[in-house]
Symmetry: C2
């Protein structure tokens, strides 16, 4: 957190909070861009915010393109904040195409009255997260809405990356017999947010798992593993992701409860809060669906990053009766259907 101690480049005494004029296209907006955003996000002398759009030279390959808006509350939570989350989330969406994330855009929607220090903290957090993930913030936009018409800060990050592999990583590539690998333990992000929001105190602070996941994906591809499908386990968690893939691929999926790692403190919190950890959001976990014969090698790579990574199940077939169905084999051997929830367990989790 050292970098967060840098003095705010906007004079706080003069502008303690964000004003409507900071989004108006005049001097105050220019000040915000040239003093806060540009120097913080700039790499190697490039100024990312002086133009309407930025010209980029891409390495050869298809490109991946994605967008996500972040409206999480609270803005700061154990293990991260809206800024780092906005970087990790979009990096991870690119990674889910097997792409190497390269460039991000940042669109801020600020509410009049947001403390300037809060914005500064978030901007620095984004910069650190981007640097660690090896991506560059190259273009941006700032809007300010009147007090009571927003909620402090919303952030959109869009991203482009390069796809250097030849595969079609999508549900349509999923085949019966494929192995379903889970990249780590489940439930930390959703429970960290919920605990902070509800003021719950557990013996240990549960930290969000928010982190970039492109490295294990690129390592699997580098090792020659033909990945059929990838999905990060954000809103809706593992349960929703498996349902979407089963429906999209026209297959049935079977997973084993005993193989899914859920930290005891997350499990405990879920019991208190009445939540099913299989539907709780994660921000640094994903599933990889790979041909069965690659599973062991892929798992070895995943475990290098998280020892809890596990092969949790298989794609079981394409009969009409079970199409789109996701079954969980419980610890005591009984099977239960994992359905798509109708709404969310936890609103504004990302």
């Amino acid at each position: 957190m050292t970098a967060a101690n840098f003095t705010c480049p906007i004079p706080i005494e003069q502008y303690p909070t964000v004003l409507l004029a900071h989004g108006g296209g005049g001097k105050l907006m220019q000040q915000l861009i040239t003093k806060m955003f540009a120097p913080t996000f700039t790499v190697a002398g490039q100024n990312p915010t002086h133009h309407d759009s930025v010209a980029l030279t891409m390495p050869p390959g298809r490109i991946a393109f994605t967008t996500d808006s972040y409206v999480i509350q609270p803005l700061f939570f154990p293990g991260g904040d809206i800024g780092s989350l906005a970087i990790h989330g979009t990096v991870n969406d690119l990674a889910m195409s097997g792409a190497r994330p390269l460039y991000l855009s940042v669109g801020f929607i600020l509410e009049e009255g947001l403390p300037m220090k809060t914005l500064w903290y978030i901007v620095q957090s984004m910069q650190r997260a981007a640097r660690r993930a090896g991506v560059r913030i190259v273009t941006g936009d700032t809007k300010v809405v009147d007090r009571g018409k927003g909620d402090g800060i919303f952030i959109n990050t869009s991203g482009v990356g390069v796809i250097e592999h030849p595969y079609d990583i999508s549900p349509t590539s999923v085949c019966p017999g494929d192995a379903i690998l889970l990249s780590g333990d489940l439930g930390r992000h959703g429970i960290a947010i919920m605990a902070k929001r509800e003021g719950l105190n557990f013996e240990t602070t549960i930290k969000s798992d928010s982190a970039p996941v492109h490295e294990p994906v690129l390592q699997m591809l580098k090792a020659g593993i033909e990945i059929h499908c990838l999905r990060d386990l954000t809103r809706g968690g593992l349960g929703s992701a498996l349902n979407e893939i089963a429906a999209g691929a026209g297959v049935a999926i079977q997973v084993e409860e005993a193989l899914i790692s859920i930290p005891p403190d997350v499990q405990g919190a879920c019991e208190i809060l009445g939540l099913d950890p299989l539907y709780v959001a994660n921000e640094g976990r994903f599933i990889a669906i790979v041909p069965f014969h690659c599973a062991e090698q892929a798992l070895k790579i995943l475990r290098h990053y998280h020892p809890e990574a596990e092969c949790i199940g298989t794609v079981v077939g394409r009969s009409d009766r079970t199409l789109g169905r996701v079954t969980l084999q419980s610890r005591i051997g009984a099977g239960r259907l994992l359905d798509l929830l109708s709404g969310e367990q936890l609103p504004r989790i990302c």
Copy 2:
């Protein structure tokens, strides 16, 4: 507006308004994506919203990348709505790099309680605007915030395009002697919004100029014109754009008031409202800075789209004393400084 009469694909009786659950990653969000967004935005059987990110094959060339969030109020105005604006604005940002706009992403931040019909109208308007501009909406994201924490709907659109010319279109390419071309008349968008917001009635309804501008830009490039700089005249209008370019290029700029076309009804409204039309936002106008010897040819192309297009001034030099200065020669011959405004004249204009 015919397409807007299609029946809303979400049953309005059951879901008359957007619920928090529509952003929760469960069944309701899936319904919104698969029934409303995907079929409307889909082209040629491609489903844009089933994956975290989309894989795109780009034509050879550098790529342009941009982002913009739209928070305009009111959502509907003469000449457009937040949906068409969100398409035109981002298409135009790409055009300002001289890029051919190709793909857009859409990020919705919806407020709980937004009428489902309003969302449906806006989605259809985006689809029509995208089709007319020749761009495809290929990926998206939907978030819902609690009532009172948003303002109906905010839209982020990010875009990628391909740069097929060899130039560096930016303030740093601007040279003394260059001609400054304005693509049409000024002030329609800002005044249309202001009139609607304030309930002002003029003899004729002033319509926003919101429109895509990539075609005239691509035509100029096709004709071999070496464009030095482009800037669309959105927030802050012509006055702010000229100031930013003068400062970025380290030059002085001189323009002539008599050559700048302002429609009489816009001029009249500005006088009533106490606004300077040179700082009012436009959403379909831009300036092109080109070598003096290309000005006539470029102007001919611009006038094909808007007969009011005009060469309004020149880049006058790089002396230390005048660096960054923008001077307006008034109709009576006097010069006045066009400075950067401190805030905005009109908040939430885009």
